[in-house]
């Protein structure tokens, strides 16, 4: 297993390098500059600014410099936000995103996985339809509808929860719930699918025929395998929540990473984009590794390869 992990980490580093290069040249090829502004900037001033950030150099030279710095853990300053390095921005917003992501995932799993199990076991009864239909509401309504609706109900009408900001635990509830509801649906459906797959296996039939109790079959034999799709989904889900929570962050005024992904891209803030990409990529690589390990733990038939 150690060899497996080391091998995957090595591959991960190669992936990171490849991603760094792809991102760098993609941003360089995108029209627009971090310094373009509505009021015309005199060319000589623009030249000064560009020289300050090293944009006057040929693309390839810039790439080598920036890669060299990145390997030393230096992502440079934001080209748009004064006095802030990319590292500062990430250090400030990543913990927020992690907290929001973990809470949402918790909401999603506590709602989604039991709903999926019940639905699979009581297939084609109201215990299947009702939880699954309820779970689907989260998929069917975009977060930018769900969020304002929750804010309206719990913030304005019931006056129970603050509508925006990130100043304490009561502020975490609405954004985590909005984001969690979306992923709850995914978890419910994946769990249901996975459980059905297991319940339809021949050996389950055999076990039933032999008179093994239904609860034993479900809990002892099917649950592990049935949770596989949900487990596989966890990695992408967390990464998606962290980078893709832009809408929720905007609606609830959460100072997380999601806003920077969008803002970095819209501002063409090269250094920030590269820093965020590397962070995100690292996160994914590690997450996938964990998912693989958990998969093997859940299904002994799989082996580390």
């Amino acid at each position: 297993m150690l060899k497996f992990v080391a091998g995957r980490l090595l591959q991960g580093i190669l992936v990171l390098l490849a991603i760094y290069a792809v991102t760098f040249f993609l941003v360089a090829a995108t029209p627009g500059s971090p310094f373009s502004s509505e009021r015309a900037i005199r060319p000589e001033i623009l030249a000064q600014i560009e020289a300050f950030y090293g944009y006057d150099k040929p693309v390839f030279e810039r790439f080598m410099t920036s890669l060299g710095n990145a390997l030393n853990g230096e992502f440079g300053p934001s080209a748009v936000y004064a006095n802030r390095t990319v590292t500062d921005i990430i250090a400030e917003s990543f913990p927020v995103s992690l907290k929001l992501g973990a809470l949402s995932l918790l909401v999603a799993m506590t709602l989604g996985i039991p709903a999926g199990i019940v639905a699979a076991v009581k297939r084609n009864t109201w215990l299947d339809y009702v939880p699954m239909s309820a779970a689907m509401v989260g998929i069917c309504l975009p977060t930018f509808v769900m969020g304002p609706m929750l804010a309206l109900v719990f913030g304005i009408i019931l006056k129970m929860l603050p509508v925006a900001g990130w100043f304490g635990p009561e502020f975490w509830i609405l954004p985590a719930a909005t984001l969690g509801l979306v992923y709850a649906a995914y978890f419910a459906r994946l769990t249901r699918g996975g459980m059905l797959e297991m319940l339809n296996q021949d050996w389950v039939r055999t076990a039933r025929a032999k008179g093994v109790k239904e609860t034993t079959i479900i809990w002892r034999h099917c649950l592990k395998g049935g949770l596989m799709p949900a487990v596989t989904f966890m990695g992408p889900a967390l990464a998606g929540i962290i980078s893709g929570s832009f809408v929720v962050e905007t609606i609830f005024q959460v100072p997380g990473l999601g806003q920077w992904f969008v803002r970095g891209a819209l501002n063409r803030d090269d250094f920030l984009i590269l820093g965020l990409t590397v962070l995100f990529a690292t996160l994914i690589v590690v997450m996938n590794l964990i998912v693989d390990i958990v998969q093997v733990a859940l299904n002994p038939r799989l082996k580390y390869e």
Partner: protein, 313 residues
């Protein structure tokens, strides 16, 4: 598609049929698609929920595709004096803030959203299934290399890339399909791979291998049909995901260009005024949600119908 067995490292060399014609015939029957799909259709017909969903979905598609030609209103003609008005005999769904008929706009928006959802999902499905099945089946270095490629794409933050792509190539609707489809196949590939790895060890695949069938044949006839269950589940999750993604892009203003307006655009517009002009949110959101509900239930029905295990019932 070229025969992968030519280039891939072989674990089992093709050998003369050791088990004789009887096993071959059995496998032939197993991989023979026609009876499988016929049975599936028979089972699907018995599933009321799925049939109803199919019916409603077809109705929505007709509503969106044919509807605009039947309506006396034009989705672009404005009446600024009227502005946003609730539903009336003239405008069944009311009008938007520029006084345009919402019914026609919902129908035309549906065309765009359905097109985005179906085309992008099809793209992702085709790439994902083939890629995942090949990786899972070949195993070893091929698998490792292919999955690292998936990791690579996975690890590109989608938000940044879609924004940059949309910014660079702004006006093409087709580019949007490709951009979305190219991202959405990754989950599919991973799931198919997991499924195939599980199936690979089972007797019927090993039997097929020992019979010397080509890799292409084993993948397309034995493996893919057996992972269709999860594939359909993922597809039914992909369609809403794609439609939501399109809505997210519209939220950023990077979606379809005016005068087109997808359901995502309409819903986004509607939610901003949901207290004052609720109909602007309710109608598009209703059709959007209903479509996704139907696709999901239909997906479930198809899953049940196609599952080779339940075929033995």
């Amino acid at each position: 598609m070229s025969d992968i067995s030519q280039t891939a490292p072989l674990q089992h060399k093709p050998q003369p049929d050791p088990a004789g014609p009887a096993v071959a015939a059995m496998l032939e029957e197993l991989e023979e698609g026609s009876s499988l799909w016929k049975d599936a259709w028979a089972r699907l017909r018995k599933n009321k929920l799925a049939l109803t969903s199919l019916f409603i979905f077809v109705a929505i598609v007709l509503f969106c595709v044919v509807g605009p030609w039947l309506s006396p209103h034009d989705s672009q003609s404005q009446d600024l004096f009227v502005g946003a008005e609730g539903p009336s005999a003239k405008h069944w769904f009311g009008t938007d803030t520029l006084g345009r008929d919402l019914l026609v706009r919902v129908m035309e928006g549906g065309r765009i959203s359905l097109l985005v959802g179906l085309v992008a999902t099809t793209v992702s499905l085709m790439i994902g299934v083939i890629f995942g099945a090949v990786a899972g089946y070949m195993g070893g270095r091929v698998d490792a290399a292919m999955m690292r490629f998936v990791d690579l794409l996975y690890a590109l933050p989608f938000t940044i890339f879609v924004i940059l792509l949309m910014v660079a190539f702004g006006r093409s609707l087709w580019l949007m399909f490709v951009a979305i489809g190219c991202v959405e196949w990754l989950t599919m590939a991973r799931i198919v791979r997991s499924g195939v790895i599980g199936l690979k060890k089972q007797e019927f695949v090993e039997a097929a291998v020992s019979l010397g069938y080509s890799h292409t044949r084993i993948i397309t006839r034995h493996l893919i049909p057996n992972v269709l269950g999860p594939v359909i589940v993922i597809s039914t999750l992909t369609v809403p995901a794609v439609m939501l993604l399109e809505a997210f892009l519209s939220f950023l203003g990077l979606g379809v260009q005016p005068p087109f307006a997808s359901w995502g655009v309409l819903i986004n517009e509607g939610q901003q005024n949901m207290e004052i002009f609720p109909w602007l949110l309710i109608f598009p959101a209703f059709f959007f949600a209903l479509t996704l509900f139907c696709l999901n239930f239909l997906g479930d029905g198809l899953r049940d119908a196609l599952d080779p295990k339940s075929a033995k019932d």
